[in-house]
């Protein structure tokens, strides 16, 4: 895919990690590289930006990343989602053997900008694996977006939780 010269809506997918919130700041940032990737991607979004999140915590993290309240409407989107939280024995949800396959599938769909695939993802399995934002990801298909290019800014699981920061340039 190529997004060169495309001027349609921009979409960022970022994980709703509470450690990104100012009220949970530490002396040493445990999520420094993730925070930097999120800041870069969010800075790429032109205003107005609408936030899609599955819960209040997701909205709070999104507004923390934006540094302002989200807009009620707008073509550019900040979607708060992440993969499983069951990738290792030390992970929040302990090790689940299904996590790696689920995350591989979700990662491929995000990299491909495959909205139909995201809508068809097994969200029950995702809930079991403590994945976040799957309802928001599934809802993207109904918005009629056409992803022209996808850029993966971050792809890691530092605490046994799979995070991505992804930028989609859509066609207008």
């Amino acid at each position: 895919m190529t997004g060169r010269g495309v001027s349609g809506p921009r979409v960022v997918i970022a994980p709703p990690v509470p450690a990104l919130l100012g009220r949970y700041a530490s002396l040493q940032d445990p999520v420094g590289p993730l925070r930097a990737a999120c800041a870069g991607a969010v800075g790429w979004l032109d205003e107005p930006v609408r936030v899609l999140a599955d819960d209040g915590q997701g909205h709070a993290v999104a507004e923390s990343l934006l540094g302002r309240p989200a807009d009620a409407a707008g073509g550019n989107l900040l979607v708060m989602a992440n993969g499983s939280a069951c990738r290792t024995e030390k992970a929040p949800g302990h090790l689940d053997p299904r996590a790696a396959g689920f995350d591989a599938r979700l990662g491929a769909l995000l990299a491909a900008g495959d909205l139909a695939g995201l809508a068809a993802l097994d969200r029950g399995l995702g809930r079991d694996l403590l994945a976040a934002g799957l309802e928001s990801l599934a809802g993207l298909q109904a918005l009629g977006l056409q992803v022209a290019s996808a850029t993966i800014d971050y792809d890691d699981d530092p605490f046994g939780v799979q995070y991505w920061v992804v930028r989609w340039q859509c066609e207008s």
Partner: protein
Amino acid sequence: MTLRLRSRAFADDATLMMAIVNRTPDSFYDQGATWAEEAAYERVVLVAAQGAEIVDIGGIKAAPGAEISVAEEKARVVDFVARVRETHPELVISVDTWRAEVGDAVCAAGADVLNDAWGGADPELVDVAAAYGAGIVCTHTGGVRVRTRPHRIEYDDVVAAVIADTTAYAERALAAGVPRESIVIDPAHDFGKNTFHSLEVTRRLDEMVATGWPVLVSLSNKDFVGETLDLPVGQRLTGTLAATAVSAWHGARVYRVHEVVETRQVVDTVWSIAGRRPPARAIRGLA
């Protein structure tokens, strides 16, 4: 209040470890372990590596004992201060002395703070601090003379007496020209106090903090801890750290200590519990 100790400034939420370095043959805790200059120097190197912001170098033990002349005290500390100044430019150097003449010599050699454990016994000490822009620690001794033990001292209200005397001393230092941000007050546990007095001062340290002057506490392995637990010197660390935790909760800023690492961990933990310091690195439940 921001603390400025000559060249170094510390934000008003910072806590500081002041490590005791004795150039004495007879101090109560270490029994002369750092009497030799090399041993004292090795202790400076150790406590600096452990993260102490301040070293407090003393040439005379606090307890009664052989008279130490000015010349002898200077021989013990002045050249040593100069050596530490040269090798540890980042370290705040405090000297535990009540004598203005000694204070003058150590400030000329690079000391940043005069820790007057005897509450202004030599009235010219504040002038020395002012002349060099050095900090000064204003302690409460309850009027006892230098290097004497308390005997049957009573107070109507020990905390009121501590606050009255230390803040009066601080005002005197200010009037002499010591910068406001370079003046610290110290209730001086055990000095002019029985164990009940020292416990009450600890319990009510918030009243001292409320004066606005930065508070230094010197609790380390002292008799009030020993008498509270009926434990000899050498077995008072846990009790010392308990008193440290209470002092930190109340907001003490400077901790004069033998054990730097343990005290730093206690103070940091309490400071975080009090909401004055973020955790070092928190991710539990937040990933």
